[in-house]
Symmetry: C2
Subunit: 301 residues, 2 copies
């Protein structure tokens, strides 16, 4: 049994897409990541985040029921982080409101029992906080991080510090190009390798994902989804499936990364088929296995 | 030995990209297609196009030296089709001039020896002309077509006629979405299947290509190219490699299409590494085989 610690956001999302809308549904990067990783056997997912007093008890129960350790989930006076957004299509999102609430003062503090974790995922929080988390873990086998445009724009130096100290970076194609200041994605990924990480995993949405090291290249397509009801959380679900698989087999070689990206791809394809985590929470092991088999079949030549 | 007839343009291209520029270099959809298909053994590529009296003799010699049958290449009084364009990046092209010249009066006429062809590719010419070509072939085993935005905008009904009569359509993602009037690419491809073709192959540029039938789905990534010197002709090169492979093995089942798309992908990756057909014409069988092996290795999981 490996530990997998994730630090990020647990939020309530109000999302509108051409397929409908939800109000204050469960969301947040650490939520999607944890639930995705919880599909893998032999992994203890440990979550570090903060919510307000309004955070519905049922969500806590759901996370617990999936075996997710919530000792690191703080409940603070005030309201839970609330994001309101509208997708006109799966690739175009407009943020209508970002109410940070208790998340504004988030200072991730790892419970004692989390510090010896072997696997750590730094969600897209402020790079200064990512560094603080790095200072709290003992000797992890593998650390991966994500980031967002906001931190590339406003905290570039701190982000470079983080990149120096992680093994893997898992980001979107547009973010990779921004950090590297390079329009060609392959060259951008190679520049990222020069900044510290031994592996760069780039998420390309409906175009799948790629992984690069100094001597390997892997590409996997997205699983074809006819009705992308709500793309929220797809990237975090992908990362959770990938990291969950690494922790599950407790190895991180090329073969394992590839299979992990297949798990991430399959799980992300379920995520987008409904609002919030509704679809993800409705599938069984058989559904996941079937989609993995389909992914293998549709890439074979 | 199978025949593979291609009808399209043979042109002179003046192209500027961030890597440099060329003036009146060899180009045209049928040119890229033919040269790509000529890499496959046991295929007699037969070209139908028109050029002007200014068309350099060396290009004719080059095409002949690759075993391409030019009985269908008419030389007419006047100048060769000339296209002038500028790429600011591989996905953004600005057309600066389109001088149709002799191509304006192009009436494809298949020589007697072309009419019994088993494999036919209708390049992106006017759908009325595509229909005229279809009326000149006897009983081809497989017909594929391409098209462009101009014909979708201006000759939609005729294009629908063409789609009813071909086995395969090979087009870009944006064109597929336009024809189907559907923003989701998977749904768009399925709508195209309803219009006639038994198979839809969609080219996604740097994101690779997919193929759909009523009961299969295949996705292949693009080969990662660091320096896209000139993207001109990549789609035609892909189609030429694919159709060349089908004609070469003289079968068109799922396995053969997948391998054909790998050939097309590998050949297109060479095409974009230099202006005009320079890189394509410089590679040997070993280079192609190596890139195919790399493609297989980088998609395996």
């Amino acid at each position: 049994m490996s530990d997998l610690v994730v630090v990020g956001s647990v939020a309530l999302d109000s999302v509108e897409t051409p397929y409908g809308k939800v109000e204050r549904a469960l969301g947040g990067s650490a939520t999607y990541f944890s639930v995705a990783a919880s599909f893998l056997p032999n992994v203890k997912v440990k979550l570090v985040a903060v919510v307000g007093e309004d955070f519905p008890r049922e969500h806590v129960e759901m996370l617990k029921s999936r075996g997710i350790d919530l000792e690191g989930l703080k409940v603070e006076k005030g309201k839970t982080f609330h994001w309101r957004g509208r997708y006109t299509d799966p690739n175009t999102v407009e943020t209508l409101a970002t109410e940070l609430n208790v998340y504004a003062g988030f200072k991730p503090e790892l419970p004692e029992s989390y510090r010896s974790t072997d696997y750590l995922f730094l969600g897209n929080i402020n790079p200064d906080l990512q560094l603080e988390v790095l200072n709290q873990v003992e000797s992890p086998k593998l650390v991966a991080c994500d980031t967002i445009k906001l931190w590339i724009d406003t905290m570039f130096d701190q982000l470079l510090e983080v990149l120096k100290r992680v093994d893997v970076v898992i980001i979107n194609d547009s973010e990779a190009k921004m950090i590297a200041r390079e329009g060609n994605l392959i060259k951008a990924a190679e520049k990222l390798l020069d900044l510290g990480p031994k592996r760069v995993v780039i998420k390309k949405g409906e175009h799948g994902a790629i992984s690069l090291t100094s001597d390997s290249f892997f590409a996997i397509p997205a699983y074809p989804v006819r009705d992308v009801v709500d793309p929220t959380g797809a990237g975090d679900t992908f990362a959770g499936g990938l990291m969950g698989y690494l922790a599950s087999v407790d190895r991180a070689d090329e073969e394992v990364f590839r299979m992990g990206m297949a798990y991430g791809t399959a799980l992300a394809s379920f995520d987008v088929e409904d609002f919030s985590l509704n679809r993800l929470l409705s599938i069984g092991e058989g559904d996941l296995r079937r989609r993995l088999e389909e992914l293998r079949e549709m890439t074979r030549f």
